[in-house]
């Protein structure tokens, strides 16, 4: 029973782990810059889910005051703090994605490729030209 609970009971966290690994895989192994970026986004989302998952309580409802339940017993509402924190984190993620895509647009305009090996080649060629100046 313990083992079952370890896997099934914590399914959210296992999901988070899977997403983390997926995101890291995308960032490190994929050659296309956009795919790296997608990996990064998945990675960030994983952390967001982690926080949200940690806010959940058994048989609790969303943290909006309900007249029927009252506000005396906090254990009837899930923890809102993580949600507010993650609102901020989502915004940060969006901003980062914005900057990243802007960079990608510049890179594409200059080098006409978003494939990392080709990019490295083009940059190396540029460096050699610079060196001959």
């Amino acid at each position: 029973m313990k083992t079952l609970d370890f896997f099934v009971g914590h399914y959210a966290y296992w999901f988070v782990v899977a997403l983390l690994v997926l995101g890291l895989y995308g960032m490190m192994v994929k050659r296309n810059l956009v795919k790296k970026l997608i990996g990064m986004t998945i990675f960030q989302v994983a952390v967001i889910i982690f926080y949200i998952a940690s806010a959940v309580k058994r048989e609790a409802t969303i943290p909006i005051a309900d007249k029927a339940i009252g506000t005396a017993d906090a254990s009837l509402y899930i923890n809102p703090l993580q949600h507010t924190l993650m609102l901020t984190a989502i915004v940060v993620g969006v901003a980062t994605a914005g900057v990243a895509y802007a960079l990608l647009i510049i890179i594409f305009r200059r080098y006409n490729t978003l494939h990392e090996p080709e990019l490295m080649e083009a940059m190396k060629r540029e460096e050699e030209e610079d060196g001959d100046e």
Partner: protein, 505 residues
């Protein structure tokens, strides 16, 4: 209760938003506004430092909510010191930046964005240093990081790629930090630094806490460019505009080190971070590797900025060794090196910027004695910076190595001692190589060489010594190195010793 800790942040943030708006009306005002705002921030942080040293820690409760419910801004001696250093250095660099930015970012309309990004970056740094809440720190961290990515991308053709790589690695780092913080939050229920320090002793042994600590340390190590997580640094510093390099090299990694120090020694405490779980040991050994790696790689570089970038990797290693020693002397060495390295690296990158402006390049193999003849003061200042990096007394660089060496001996860590001292020799190799060329390099004939199309290309500087706005900051920093060196005992006794947390004595 005082507003002082939050003031620099607010001023910088406000100006960052105002500057683009105002410059729609008054075309060239962005730079002036930026300098004014940074000057204000620098003065306020200097005043804060004096107040904190005299009367004790300053607190601000945002929106009046007391901690740990509300977000608190805390200025203790360490925070005040780091803030003062960063703001002052950025001010000095901004003065130099005027001509350098004009030259390296030809599109005038982008200058407004540049200065706005600088303000945002500094605002983020001040926020990181002043805040007393870990999540708030994450927000400021990302604000400053995004600005940094932008600043790096403003450079030459290859800079967007370097900026993108920096972005990916930096975001991994910040996300690790956030994940680690999540674990801590789950176990303690608090995000406030002081509160955590009180709660943690009860939950130290729990695996989530350990994992949380490790993740946060890993994340900040990426931001600090601690070997082997430094991969983003060389390209970023090299391809960024020289002014941007001069802005981020002295400050960015230091703020990362500050967070590590705060986390390890003030929140977790040396007792746990060094003795129960050998986190500081690992940092120390990686840092020692960083020192050797950075110095060796620097020796192989042909371009000045890239050489300085690898040198920065090595210098971050010194700070890491100080953290790794987890002792008062180690902390003194690390914090003093924050100050020393900020001055030295700012000086060296500013000189690189001056060279790029006046010579059109900063390639070491194209330096020759003509450079020194046309720019004697700039070259002399570079020599002072180089000697300080090597560790020739009485310049500042010698003394951070002195404290670190003393700390290493006291801990009977002979390998750290050897690393610290041998690296001075490695530094000497690559700096003296540059100095040799600057002072004695043979000029190819009477200054004329052939370009690729056979046209006559002057390989000497184009027109004289750097302008006053570029020369004065450089000379100021060089003089500062001597003054800080001679007066380092004052800095250590009056400022740094007050920072040492109880658990470490």
């Amino acid at each position: 209760m005082s507003d002082a800790p939050a003031l620099p942040v607010l001023i910088l943030l406000g100006t960052a938003i105002l500057a683009p708006l105002v410059s729609l009306l008054l075309r060239r005002s962005a730079r002036a506004l930026a300098v004014a705002a940074v000057a204000a921030a620098a003065s306020i942080s200097a005043v804060n430092l004096v107040r904190v040293l005299g009367r004790g820690t300053l607190h601000t409760h945002m929106a009046g909510w007391p901690p740990p419910i509300g977000i608190e801004y805390v200025l203790d001696p360490l925070a005040a010191f780091v803030a003062a250093v960063i703001n002052s250095i950025v001010l000095i660099v901004l003065v130099h930046a005027r001509l350098s930015v004009d030259a390296e970012i030809p599109d005038r309309s982008r200058h407004v964005s540049f200065y706005a990004l600088v303000l945002l970056m500094l605002c983020g740094f001040n926020g990181i240093v002043a805040t007393g809440d870990f999540f708030n720190l994450y927000v400021w961290l990302e604000i400053s990081s995004l600005s940094l990515y932008g600043l790096v991308a403003a450079g030459d053709r290859r800079s967007p790629v370097a900026a993108f790589r920096y972005l990916i690695m930096g975001t991994i780092g910040a996300t690790f930090y956030l994940l680690g913080l999540g674990f801590l939050f789950v176990m303690t229920g608090s995000l406030n630094m002081a509160d955590l320090a009180a709660i943690l002793p009860h939950v130290w042994r729990e695996p989530p806490v350990v994992v949380g600590l490790v993740l946060m340390v890993a994340g900040m190590s990426i931001k600090m460019a601690l070997f082997p997580l430094h991969g983003w640094l060389p390209d970023a510093y090299t391809t960024a505009p020289s002014s941007a390099s001069a802005l981020i090299a002295p400050t960015g990694t230091k703020v990362g080190a500050y967070v590590l120090i705060r986390l390890l020694f003030f929140v977790f405490g040396a007792e746990f971070a060094a003795r129960t779980l050998p986190v500081t040991s690992v940092i120390g050994w990686l840092a020692a590797a960083a020192v050797i790696y950075g110095s060796v790689m620097a020796m192989a570089q042909k371009e000045l900025k890239r050489m300085l970038a690898f040198s920065s990797v090595a210098q971050v290693g010194y700070i890491g060794i100080g953290i790794g020693l987890a002792s008062p002397l180690g902390l003194i060495g690390a914090v003093l090196h924050v100050l020393n390295h900020a001055c030295m690296k700012a000086l060296l990158f500013l000189v690189a910027g001056s060279f790029r402006l006046k010579l059109g390049h900063s390639r070491i193999d194209r330096f020759n004695a003509a450079v020194r003849r046309q720019m004697p003061w700039t070259t002399a200042a570079f020599a002072a910076g180089a000697l300080s990096m090597v560790g020739v007394p009485p310049l500042a660089g010698f003394f951070s190595k002195w404290y670190l060496a003393l700390g290493a001996v006291r801990a009977s860590n002979w390998i750290f001692l050897a690393v610290i001292l041998v690296s001075s020799l490695l530094n000497a190799v690559y700096f003296f190589r540059v100095l040799e060329r600057l002072y004695m390099g043979k000029t190819g004939g009477p200054g004329k060489q052939e370009g690729p199309a056979g046209e006559a290309v002057e390989d000497g500087p184009r027109d004289g010594e750097a302008a006053a706005s570029m020369l004065v900051p450089v000379l100021l920093l060089a003089a500062a190195l001597l003054v800080i060196g001679l007066l380092n005992a004052v800095v250590v006794k009056q400022v740094i010793m007050k920072m040492i947390p109880q658990g470490m004595m």
